[in-house]
Symmetry: C5
Subunit: 351 residues, 5 copies
Amino acid sequence: MALDFERSDIGLPPGSAVYVGDRHPEEIALSIIGYDPVGSWVKSAKTVDELLQYRNASGITWINVNGFRESDAISRLAEVYKIHPLTIEDILNTEHRPKVEEFDDYLFITLKEISNPEDSPFVFDQISIVLTANTVITFQETAGDSFDGIRKRILSNLGRVRKHGAEYLAYSLMDSVVDRYFLVLDTLGATIEDFEERAVDVKDVAFISDLQETKQRLHHARRAIWPLRESLSVLLRTESVYVNEVLTPFLKDLQDNVIQAAETVESYREAISGIMEVHLSAASNRLNKVMKVLTIISTIFIPLTFIVGVYGMNFTHMPELNSVYGYPIVWGIMILIAIGMIAFFKSRDWL
Amino acid sequence: MALDFERSDIGLPPGSAVYVGDRHPEEIALSIIGYDPVGSWVKSAKTVDELLQYRNASGITWINVNGFRESDAISRLAEVYKIHPLTIEDILNTEHRPKVEEFDDYLFITLKEISNPEDSPFVFDQISIVLTANTVITFQETAGDSFDGIRKRILSNLGRVRKHGAEYLAYSLMDSVVDRYFLVLDTLGATIEDFEERAVDVKDVAFISDLQETKQRLHHARRAIWPLRESLSVLLRTESVYVNEVLTPFLKDLQDNVIQAAETVESYREAISGIMEVHLSAASNRLNKVMKVLTIISTIFIPLTFIVGVYGMNFTHMPELNSVYGYPIVWGIMILIAIGMIAFFKSRDWL
Amino acid sequence: MALDFERSDIGLPPGSAVYVGDRHPEEIALSIIGYDPVGSWVKSAKTVDELLQYRNASGITWINVNGFRESDAISRLAEVYKIHPLTIEDILNTEHRPKVEEFDDYLFITLKEISNPEDSPFVFDQISIVLTANTVITFQETAGDSFDGIRKRILSNLGRVRKHGAEYLAYSLMDSVVDRYFLVLDTLGATIEDFEERAVDVKDVAFISDLQETKQRLHHARRAIWPLRESLSVLLRTESVYVNEVLTPFLKDLQDNVIQAAETVESYREAISGIMEVHLSAASNRLNKVMKVLTIISTIFIPLTFIVGVYGMNFTHMPELNSVYGYPIVWGIMILIAIGMIAFFKSRDWL
Amino acid sequence: MALDFERSDIGLPPGSAVYVGDRHPEEIALSIIGYDPVGSWVKSAKTVDELLQYRNASGITWINVNGFRESDAISRLAEVYKIHPLTIEDILNTEHRPKVEEFDDYLFITLKEISNPEDSPFVFDQISIVLTANTVITFQETAGDSFDGIRKRILSNLGRVRKHGAEYLAYSLMDSVVDRYFLVLDTLGATIEDFEERAVDVKDVAFISDLQETKQRLHHARRAIWPLRESLSVLLRTESVYVNEVLTPFLKDLQDNVIQAAETVESYREAISGIMEVHLSAASNRLNKVMKVLTIISTIFIPLTFIVGVYGMNFTHMPELNSVYGYPIVWGIMILIAIGMIAFFKSRDWL
Amino acid sequence: MALDFERSDIGLPPGSAVYVGDRHPEEIALSIIGYDPVGSWVKSAKTVDELLQYRNASGITWINVNGFRESDAISRLAEVYKIHPLTIEDILNTEHRPKVEEFDDYLFITLKEISNPEDSPFVFDQISIVLTANTVITFQETAGDSFDGIRKRILSNLGRVRKHGAEYLAYSLMDSVVDRYFLVLDTLGATIEDFEERAVDVKDVAFISDLQETKQRLHHARRAIWPLRESLSVLLRTESVYVNEVLTPFLKDLQDNVIQAAETVESYREAISGIMEVHLSAASNRLNKVMKVLTIISTIFIPLTFIVGVYGMNFTHMPELNSVYGYPIVWGIMILIAIGMIAFFKSRDWL
């Protein structure tokens, strides 16, 4: 559920390596990629120590950790790479808000991958990146495919990634996560256009729930996207050792993309408010029309019913009743009244 | 009451040691814990002077004061630890907003513990922490159990607390208070989900009062949580002697938690606004449906009643009346009219 | 009137000593208090020059001016104490927003005293304080009693005031004004609680006007309170000669109080919006219920009326009419229809 | 029209001296005032060159230009006083937002004079001031009388203006424009109070249009007032050569006035929103009351009409019909039903 | 569609030269203009290399690229002028938000041209400007005519453009784009005035959709205009080599224009909200009036129908029936009741 919010580490000392998230933690899967401008290789391993054997001194190393079940493995990694216990806590707490934090030995980045499964709320997967001198370690709650493109680019030496340092790899990983926001927003944009088209005619009360649900989704997307912008801006402002002259335009570009995504979310929220207003106006308009027509029908017949009631009275002395023309005259009067009322309502534009 | 707001010290000179709060101040209960990396001990006392005997020169001392009835005892503590009269006033004024303030001899922290008793508004307990070189003094309005975990960790030497200084103890105490926010927000999240499920179908007018009451609660929670973030940010920015390199990441982590709590409160408020809108739309939709059906029933019968009224007239010359087929023909006409009207309403999608 | 807003000095050169306010300026009343840690005395005078005789060289002097009718007297004071014409203009313009402004020879403080007479809007009295090296001059539009407590404390040597300099006196005066805000807010809190209790049941249209009127009051209170916070914050930031080390914690405490008052005002506004929403929902709900019941009564009887109309027709050949059981059978049918409709409405939860 | 917005210089090179405004530019009228602490004189002229003859070396010169028809004259002035073409463009573009801008040779100030003709929207006249070392040049779109007071004060040596430099004159001119805001706001305040009094009872739909129109006016007033505050604040912050020690308190005072005007506009907007809410509630309440009473009348008579219908049936066997007491008994029953219904409605507080 | 949002470069390495936009990219059209204070010439070319032949060493060169189909040509340009791949990506991504970014070798400016085709949403064309030492390169998605005026001014040596450097040309191009905003806003202002006039009387439900659609347009216009202001402000603050003393007032003027455009957009949004409120109030008022009149007609006839029903009863003993005056008396009573009710409704102001 969107509002579900659980922290199973409450009461524990700060910095405890405990998984905090709302899904069943998957089994751990470790992989390592090494590369330099000349070559590259990839290995996967069962344990951290097996994995660490594959490290080689020169070049860039990228370690990927999928699944958080065995926190022992993660603790071991933390030990080797001197990762602060609080960073480990943040990695395992998959409800953490996006941030970029600089430590003595590494830069810690955590951000959200957004995916949009068919007919269900957004899924937010936390992706954490630890960037040290020449190693990048990534942590994913579940095995996603967002890094596949980069993996392929490294192994086939496409693009710039092999030519640059670990910082560029970290940037590329963030970039690939942010690129996905546009995919998700694209799908959502189609949904909103669909809402827009149905706004006037739809009669189902579920429409409003749907709109609200989409608004909530956008709110959650905003929470996942917005803090990243701030963090990137801090990173660019402070003279971090992880941000060199080559990287700066790329980070600025990433920041532009994050802002664009956040602004699109804002536009969608605005659009939904507009759709809501149009929908409610249309519904109320439709009802009012119906009620007006129904009321007018009653209003025409009630005086006529009174007239026929008059000649249904049983007074002994009612001269009209004995007249041969009484009956047709009454009909004539009633038809005139009906026509008069309809004409009056038409003239007033009530019909 | 949530809106109850009393200051019994109005008119008194500033810095007067007077209890300001809306509950009956409990009797004072004093306890002292001493520890260093090697060992630890705990004592409780009846008077401040008795308590102060237990202090020992080396190691960290943690004095806890529960209940504010005997302000003499608190004045005595203030005297011994050179606490500014205004700090004492802030400790006793349990309506004070959270803050962190640096004095010459100590750091003063005041924050709110939030608890959520069954079926009643939030309870906000003020917790004040005075942090001096190697002593932490905590003040609680009522005997709460938020510090039990830390007490246990000190005495059993679990976690990091025994290894670090008084600052770390103060941080741990704040952390344990902030951790509780998530417990309370968790419960509230369940309530809001429950609201969400009932929003469309519930017919009780109390539902709206409940929503508003929850909104008010969130507003109060926000007031208790938000200022803390600002204070922590000031503390991290200024070069305080109480914030060393070891503590910084922990304080940043605490700040992250406070922000996460505050953002969750914001999300809940947003969710409640959405629920309100869905509820009102559903209620209005339901009513409109009922009224439409009822109006349609009347609209069908009113013309028919007119027709039977026509043949209830007592004119002497009404040829239809004497016809053998008059009666069944009228019935036929009326049935046709009724069917025609129903068909028309159906075709217009009014039924 | 709350919205009344008059500036009688328009067109005059800036810095003219003209009373700008919406009340009849009272006759001037001058008083002077002198004190040092050892002793104190108080005098009142008819003219400024008489008053100035009472000054003595050592110790602190506090001059209080009540009523603004004789601006000559005020001009004379300005001359003696080198007060800038614009300060005098600000003192006499009782619509001025609160501020703290540092001049070469003095610190000028202007703030609002809020009082809440029975059943009428808030009254805002402007209080201006001119703080020079060892003299405090206070200006009050009308004779209020907000300074009585401090006067008593000085004369009886209670609290700290006699021990500190003129700055502390100025602070104490501001503090006593701000303390009164809580009294007024307390009363208002009770009013709002009362609104809260009546929100669901009250049927008087004046309720909404009352809510709006209270909202306007809160808006005016906010305008009176909020700028003070900013001014104090500027005063604390800039290295003013009037703010020494002793005074700083007191000013911070004052600022905390001002923020607390402003936040309480915010909470009240929020509460009033909630009350409005609950009230409107309850009223609309109540009306809808009534209309539904009334409509259902009509809806039950209209078909029955049609049936009796049928048997009121005067056709010669209506076989039912001659049947002995016709009449009771029709009654039976009608009762069945009525029961059926009621059952149907109940099953649909419309009744 | 308030929304009218035209720029006739689109497509022209930037800095073109073209009049941009929505009124017919008046013929140019030039006047010059010279003064020093000792004396003063005033002249008017047909052409700029004639005007410039009257300049004298010592003392302060104030040139006033009314009407923008002959932009040649203005170009000539610009040439003599080295005014940047963009400044000339800003002077002639009377839709420009208020600002204070420092150039190498002069300070350029543009602000709006607001006037409030009977029964029509606000009129915004742009006033531009060019302040050089000892000359002030003012530009007015139409001949207004806002500067008359200052002219008189200079010529009769009232107030401070003759004693100070050109900066003080420029300040006085701005002050006289800002002072007028309060006149306009005063009138508007009376209008809003009038709205407030009529809010509950007025039945004309034009009331809402009037409120919206006033809100739009306030929005435009805000746009005319607010940017000035920012500009003044920039002027006070930067170390401008045009702001000396003597002028600073006067500029701060001016800024206070501008803030007060802007806050009053804010208060009025708030008040109008409140009035709208009260008005709509009152209107809806009134309608609901009417509909309820009408519906209750129908609801009482419909069952009675059914009863009389029953005894209008023509069954041969209806024992009640032949009873002597039938008729009065039916009347009795109907009266009882009517009373019962009324009592029921009263007990439920529906009547 | 306004909400359409596509990024076809997702998954590609950052800095890929891929066209991202929602229109069919036009064929490339290259042109080059050279000028110095003495002379000027213009050429167009098929390929970049052909174009580059026309460059001459002295003077200013302006290269214009229309259409993005052949990205090879653009890549070639990038190579020659050392344009960063990310800049090329930004040029081709026509959904990019406006910005000004300084690179080592050039200043990159991207902004939106807004045009307003008859009866269709705004069209946003992205215009990118690369400003190097003495060359300006402009990129347009489609062949627009916004630069025609400047082209003419260069070739005919009108205005200042020939006298200044490349920076002034870049400024002029931005200025001509921003000037067009006022044309578009002008048209929109007329539309909004038209809405304003129709707000009270229009009965079409499409009116609300139209208002919402205009609001969306304004939202998009705001997104196109607002970021420019920020970028210009950064450019003016930072000590850019591209901003010299001559250019500063022109850039400030441009910034003023951008702010004015953005504020006009804000005013329009505010106006639309007001129109919506007036429209909904008027519609609801109209409906209420109709329903009230209809209900009153029913309310008058229902009691009369009851009365005639009474005398339609078939009781044997109904003394009134045999009275000669019975019938006229009943008529009299009914007329009195009708008049009484109408008088009552009138007195209550219900009719």
